[in-house]
Symmetry: C2
Subunit: 333 residues, 2 copies
Amino acid sequence: VSRVAVFGAGTWGTAFSLVLSDAGNQVALWGRRPELCAAINATHENGDYLPGVRLPDSLVASADPHVVLGGAEVVVLALPSQTLRSNLERWSPMMAPGVLLVSLMKGIELGSAKRMSEVISEVTGAGSDQVAVVTGPNLAREIAERQPAASVVACVNAESAQRLQAVCHTPSFRPYTNADVVGAELGGATKNVIALAVGMAVGLGFGDNTRASVITRGLAETARLGAALGADQYTFAGLAGLGDLVATCSSPLSRNRTFGEHLGRGESLEEAQLATRQTAEGVKSCLAIRDLARRVGVEMPITEQVERVCHEGVDPRKAVAELMSRETKSEGT
Amino acid sequence: VSRVAVFGAGTWGTAFSLVLSDAGNQVALWGRRPELCAAINATHENGDYLPGVRLPDSLVASADPHVVLGGAEVVVLALPSQTLRSNLERWSPMMAPGVLLVSLMKGIELGSAKRMSEVISEVTGAGSDQVAVVTGPNLAREIAERQPAASVVACVNAESAQRLQAVCHTPSFRPYTNADVVGAELGGATKNVIALAVGMAVGLGFGDNTRASVITRGLAETARLGAALGADQYTFAGLAGLGDLVATCSSPLSRNRTFGEHLGRGESLEEAQLATRQTAEGVKSCLAIRDLARRVGVEMPITEQVERVCHEGVDPRKAVAELMSRETKSEGT
């Protein structure tokens, strides 16, 4: 039994807290709003983000980071990617040394173009052997319903990866270890951007052939970026790459895909935000990933088009048409 | 303009005839039943397999192979995989020498465990430079609706591949050449088997996480088989592998996925056949692919389980549970 602090009472943070509780840990969940935390403690339900799911009685929520961190050996971070640095700067001094830091986040920091584990190391001073990532085909609602799911726990240090694996292993949640943190994080981050593109195609009325083509080429451009950054190509063919991408792009539950559908139907960024009541990670990440790709000289046409639709007002119809009509003669080129 | 003979007036044969007609060719379509051919000629619609789609006036159907082959420089084969050999033995003597033979089929021959292009070469005596394959994320109904789609035309001979590319290129259908015939055919054949497994999981009530895990591991076992048979790993990451697999597994239009759903809901093979009114290719191919895998010593757990459900009466619930609970510690093993 470990004491685990989970920061972020959104959909995934809450669902993963349930997994950690099921695995027998003592879990404390931090939420920004005291009233949501009080409601979780009173009703054992997160009505805002995971309505209808009964949370374990042992799970305690609090808006006080001191309370949540008390005695924690594992700290799980499930925040909006762009808020990680500022939050962590406040919490880092409260953390015990040697704590295992775990990112559930799938984004790239704007400006710095850093992966979440890089931001965590930078802010906390933790070595990469102390920072791990959980990723894979893990739609939160299905996980919360305890449907069987496979996942990836990635850390450069095998012992830390195995420790995390043991901490979150349940009869329905099966984590596989992987040493390729770069690949695991890139797979997760670009997935959100590709899901936006798939959503746009769906919103425009295109069917499964087009969707499959966007997914295939999206994974190809992710693998190109990964190759330039030293990731293992095998990671992209596995659960953290292909698996996560397919789950997200197939699911009407996916925020990024749904957001893209709104854009594809001709809504503005603001209208889509209003309609979905949440910000899709990919909207910001596409900028950071595009910057990262340009820095290392990798072509990412889908990411470029998503960025143009989200931030330069380009018509998604034009963007998808450009993607589908790119001049290529043989498949490898 | 080429004269093209298409053998097989099922869904894909008919849809591809429409593509070939759109590309400006003179297309003759062979169907087994004279009454279906007469109806196609009279109504310009294949009411049995592609209802609601208006076929080009220039497309002529006939049950007489002599009529269909008259002057044909390209012969396209879109038959049930297990009937290819016997049919082709009858037609082969009627074909002009030097004709380009094109397989649209996604199966492996029972008994011989041969790919379709191998059967074609064996029966007709055509060299591999004269035998090509069309495959990719190409759901027939979407193609018939002229939705934008990318496809793969594979031939060991680059000139033949380019010739076929030119013959079937339209504003909405974009064929990419590929020299890896082995990979293109294996991707297509195993896809049908994996789609059966995905369908079973869906029929059992599992969601997108499980589906994505089955797809990911299915592609991994396909790539292992391909490696043992000399295929290019890149093919499996592309349209003929990942692309085709994702399109089929996402689509409620897919016969194999739909068939698997029936099995997953507890129906017998016979009940599923009655309900879908068609035989799913994967039901037979799973036997042939399992044999092929055993011959070359490759483990294909999903194919094995699908074979056991289809042909040994194993409960799909037990098969999926076994797949999800396989003991693995790190992702690569």
